[in-house]
């Protein structure tokens, strides 16, 4: 009985626990609850992924109503993988949360923080697992509203304006998606994703469907911070509490990328998206701009959280570039990079949480001499940075390898060159941190900084270690990513 209800429980467990976390009122109690819930969600997602890989997609009818009348949960290799990313990162980041949150957030607001964190987890899992276009909108708003709360809990007053700016941009994005879904519903009479896909097939000439496509594309691009719609992201990540930055950077944009994959490939179909609509070329241009502008701006940042946020804009560019190829290799690269980038940014932001915990700031100046005083934390930053650049033996190399391969398959050798050039820019901004940490010495009080506590180091190193593990043993991740890519393109299962 439990096994057949796992898709529902994946979302319902965090959903039910959120009000409980609010009622507990003691930060520590809420943390214990949140941690248990995260582990349960992770266990369910692992189980779902195994089932999907073994026996094919799972469909679950909410309320026992058959789709398209009721809401369907639909799990295939693509979203099972994303569920695993979200709940896995959620669990590991939560391990570090207790120490960091106790330092950064006032006592009476800690349980509110965990409640918002659980709601955000609920929203992200709900968006990923659902097979209903309107249900995506509802859970998108759950995750967005809770994200605004998480950001606004940052200490700096700029956290408030960052949250407000994100609220405006996010709501415009969500409303665009709502308009787009409305136009699709108008043309087909259904909201179920698989049903939509079937009924949209003969309608590729409909101008209503084309306009709906445009609105969904712009709305989702806003949510995933595709250049030039990325303006909300740097401030949001920079001024949020450290734990919120780590969780959001590693998961929120990934889920938006998933929604984009789902709409472009499953709902509209690759023929419509890339032949009727000129999606491939637009995405490729924006992606390359994102890579270069994002990396270039990152080089000039003084706040390291902002630096990593701009680097995220660039890394999202790599994912979108993979999508724009619309081939199995390109999509494999994009989906791999979803997973790999979550590992890198999760690990790096947790290391930053450790730096903030000890030094009280995250500007480049705070990094001076940390190579000596916080050797383990800095070593984690270095490995994470190498992975961002895409050095062999890290996960960053694997996804870039597939991306270059995908470009060469299509004969786009110049795109392959641009990808490599983009990596050179990453070398510069990572070097900035290394230089400060290892070749400059701290002055005054900063010289007596101690290594971060284990409760922060261990979670950061789990993620950083995964960067190396999956960089060497690539069979598991590439296998899943390839299956997912093939199913999106409708080739095999």
């Amino acid at each position: 009985m439990i096994a057949s209800n796992l898709p529902a429980l994946q979302v319902v467990i965090p959903l039910l626990s959120a009000p409980l976390a609010l009622m507990l009122r003691r930060g520590t109690h809420s943390w214990v609850l949140a941690q248990l819930v995260c582990i349960a969600a992770l266990a369910i997602s692992i189980n779902l992924l195994q089932t999907v890989l073994a026996t094919g997609p799972i469909s679950y009818e909410m309320g026992g109503w058959a789709p398209p009348w009721g809401i369907e949960y639909y799990v295939d290799a693509v979203n099972a993988f994303v569920l695993l990313i979200v709940s896995g990162i959620g669990t590991i980041v939560m391990l570090a949360a207790r120490t960091s949150v106790a330092k950064e957030i006032a006592g009476d607001k800690q349980s509110l923080f965990y409640t918002a964190y659980l709601l955000c987890l609920t929203g992200l899992l709900g968006i990923t697992i659902t097979g209903d276009a309107f249900n995506i909108f509802v859970f998108l708003e759950i995750s967005s509203l809770s994200t605004y709360i998480l950001i606004s809990l940052g200490r700096d007053r700029r956290a408030l304006t960052a949250a407000f700016q994100y609220l405006i941009m996010g709501t415009i994005g969500a409303t665009f998606i709502l308009i787009g879904v409305g136009m699709l519903y108008m043309s087909t009479g259904t909201l179920n994703i698989l049903d939509l896909a079937e009924r949209l097939q003969p309608l590729s000439d409909s101008r209503t469907v084309q306009a709906g496509f445009a609105f969904v594309a712009v709305g989702v691009s806003l949510k995933l911070a595709l250049f030039p719609l990325h303006l909300w992201l740097p401030n949001a990540y920079a001024y949020a509490p450290s734990i919120a930055s780590a969780f959001l950077a590693a998961t929120a944009t990934k889920v938006a990328v998933y929604v984009m994959l789902r709409f472009f490939f499953t709902v509209f179909g690759v023929d419509f998206s890339f032949e009727v609509m000129p999606l491939g070329i637009i995405l490729a241009i924006l992606a390359i701009l994102a890579i270069f502008v994002g990396s270039a701006v990152a080089i000039f940042q003084d706040n390291v959280k902002r630096l990593l946020a701009y680097s995220s804009v660039a890394q999202i560019g790599y994912m979108i570039l993979g999508i724009s190829f619309a081939t199995v290799t390109g999509l494999t690269a994009a989906i791999l990079h979803l997973f790999n980038h979550a590992l890198m940014k999760g690990g790096l932001f947790l290391a930053l949480a450790a730096v903030f915990y000890r030094t009280g700031g995250v500007s480049v100046a705070h990094f001076r001499g940390l190579g000596k005083t916080m050797p383990w934390t800095m070593f984690a930053v270095v490995i994470g940075g190498l992975s961002l650049i895409g050095v062999p033996l890290t996960v960053g190399f694997v996804s870039k390898w597939y991306l270059v391969l995908g470009a060469l398959e299509l004969g786009y050798w110049w795109i392959a060159l641009l990808v490599l050039a983009g990596s050179l820019l990453a070398v510069i901004y990572v070097w900035k941190l290394v230089e400060a940490a290892y070749f400059q010495t701290a002055e005054g009080d900063a010289a007596s900084v101690r290594e971060a506590p284990l409760s922060l180091l261990v979670p950061a190193w789990i993620l950083i270690g995964a960067n190396i593990y999956f960089g060497i043993d690539t069979s598991l991740t590439t296998g899943v990513a390839r299956t997912a890519a093939a199913s999106l393109l409708g080739i095999g299962g």
């Binding site: 309107f134 509203l145 408030l160 304006t161 407000f164 519903y185």
Partner: protein
């Protein structure tokens, strides 16, 4: 029915939507932005409700004397969307109050100039 007459309603709705959208992105006052956002969203609701209308249909409450009903599904979706909208608005207004307390202003350009001078 001619194109103009049949689509006239939609065009009015689109005009409203764009007025709201313009207020959101062009105006610097935070409260006015939120009002614009609400107009934008309310117009989208009108778009949905409009598509659910069936000529000569009745409200979708079953009654033996009625043969044709308007489509209930858009109504349900918009009920949800209205609630989501007010939730967003409440959160946004709370943020505005805090921003006013911290910065002493709710004009976007003044907030930016304060942050830059830091």
């Amino acid at each position: 029915m001619s194109t103009t007459l049949g689509l006239y309603n939609y065009w009015i709705v689109i005009f409203l939507m764009m007025v709201g959208f313009y207020v959101v992105i062009a105006h610097g006052n935070l409260i006015k932005k939120i009002v614009g956002l609400n107009i934008f969203q309310t117009s989208v609701f009108i778009l949905y409700i409009t598509m659910g209308k069936v000529a000569d249909g009745a409200a979708p409450i079953l009654d033996d004397s009625v043969t044709s009903y308007s489509n209930p599904l858009p109504h349900v979706l918009i009920l949800t969307a209205i609630v989501v909208g007010v939730a967003t608005t409440a959160l946004a207004l709370a943020l505005i109050v805090r921003i006013k307390e911290e910065y002493g202003t709710i004009e976007e350009d003044e907030i930016h100039s304060q942050d830059e001078s830091l």
